[in-house]
């Protein structure tokens, strides 16, 4: 299944205009594989959602940095920390781990041995 990407910049192809924060795909933009890969490499489109609540004159990195500071001061809950980790803006925080219940079920070797 293809990954979901979000625009971290307004994108204008002449035919299509995508605003910041919108979900976007290569097909939406009708661009070549290399152009799409370049957009991913340059951070124009990212797998992480554009953060909600960013002010009109504020950058998402500044907004998330403020949150990070609050995290250090113990003012953030788990949901906020998860948003920071999945944003991709602060790789030093590490990646968000896949919850155990969402992981594919492993074969039950012990059951097979019994039968």
């Amino acid at each position: 299944m293809a990954n979901t990407y979000y625009a971290w910049s307004n994108i204008n192809t002449g035919e299509v205009t995508i605003n910041v924060g919108k979900e976007v795909s290569q097909a939406d933009l009708d661009i070549s594989d290399s152009e799409w890969d370049d957009m991913i490499a340059q951070g124009v489109v990212r797998e992480s959602k554009y953060p909600e609540g960013v002010g009109a004159t504020e950058s998402p990195s500044g907004f998330l940095r403020e949150k990070l500071l609050k995290a250090y001061e113990g003012e953030l809950d788990d949901a906020d920390l998860k948003e920071l980790r999945t944003s991709g803006v602060f790789p030093e925080l590490g990646v968000e781990e896949v919850p155990a219940e969402a992981a594919p079920a492993a074969p039950k070797a012990s059951t097979a041995a019994k039968s």
């Binding site: 971290w8 910049s9 307004n10 994108i11 204008n12 192809t13 002449g14 035919e15 605003n19 910041v20 924060g21 933009l29 009708d30 661009i31 290399s34 152009e35 370049d38 957009m39 340059q42 951070g43 124009v44 554009y50 960013v54 002010g55 009109a56 004159t57 504020e58 950058s59 998402p60 990195s61 500044g62 803006v89």
Partner: protein, 342 residues
Amino acid sequence: MYDPSLLYIDPVLTNLSVGLPKDQNYYGIKIMPETPVRTQSGLYRVFDRSDWLLTEDRREPGTVAHEVVGAKWSTDNFQTHEHSLQVPVFDEERQQLTSQGGLADPVFGGALQLDPEADATAKVVRSLFLNQENKVSTLVRNTANYPAGNTVTLSGGTQWDNYTMSTPGVPLTTSSDPVGDILKGMRTVYSATLRWPNLLAIPTLGLSYIENHPRIVTRFQNFSLTIPNAFQILTGFQGQIVLLDSMYNATNNIDATPLAYTQFWGKDVWLGITDDVPGLNQLTFGKTFAQIYPDGTVRPTERWREEPRKADLIRTSYKYDLKIVAPSAGYLIKTAFSATAW
């Protein structure tokens, strides 16, 4: 009597050698000007916008006048880190260079303009600037560092090297519009700061695409490029325009082939407000906070002797922090030119 070929040794030319230009222009320091500071870390104030608030001022007889709410501020911080490089010049280098048979010997045409000390100093300074250019360009070209309205990515027909006209022969029907894109960026910055951008940075190799763009050619059919500031008038931008051409060798191996020259600034265009001189209540896009060393400079070069190694060490240090202090004072046009433009 003798074989002529034995009577001759090819000389090394002293007025010609092949290599990259040793020095480049760096633009990071223009976009994020240096602000000398006397401390390793510190704070700067960010004032609120209370100065532009509308305050009820009507006073009825016998009542007390409304009071104006005082200004507030928050603080942001900087934290400089030292960047320092050194290079040894060994005694053997000088000895060999000036020995009989050494490249400085007149037999080989003289010193070949090799100066180990001067070259070593230039190399460490150059390497520090290259790293700084890399850091600044990475910051400036990252869309996450701009408010939502301050960045646009051009693709396909809107890129400035795409001259395709939807109605053949009618220049104003191109989807790409360099002047329109730049003016939109200027309006965006102005509306957030009440100041027009004073710096426009364009990749050098994109210049010819702009000059020959059908919309621009049409707009200025009776316009001479020889008049002063022609390019500023062509683009509609009235500030300083810098042409970006700095690059680095991405192979990270001086013997690897082919060489991979990578341009720090890619195919992006940036415009915004920069202030070289620190001041109060400034709205400048970014700063390079540089701590002053005890000798009064921000990039001192030291030289000392290491006798066990029989070498003189040359070191340059630079303690700085790069900070985007007003993101709304910048506007980024990503991939203004297509991947195939150059």
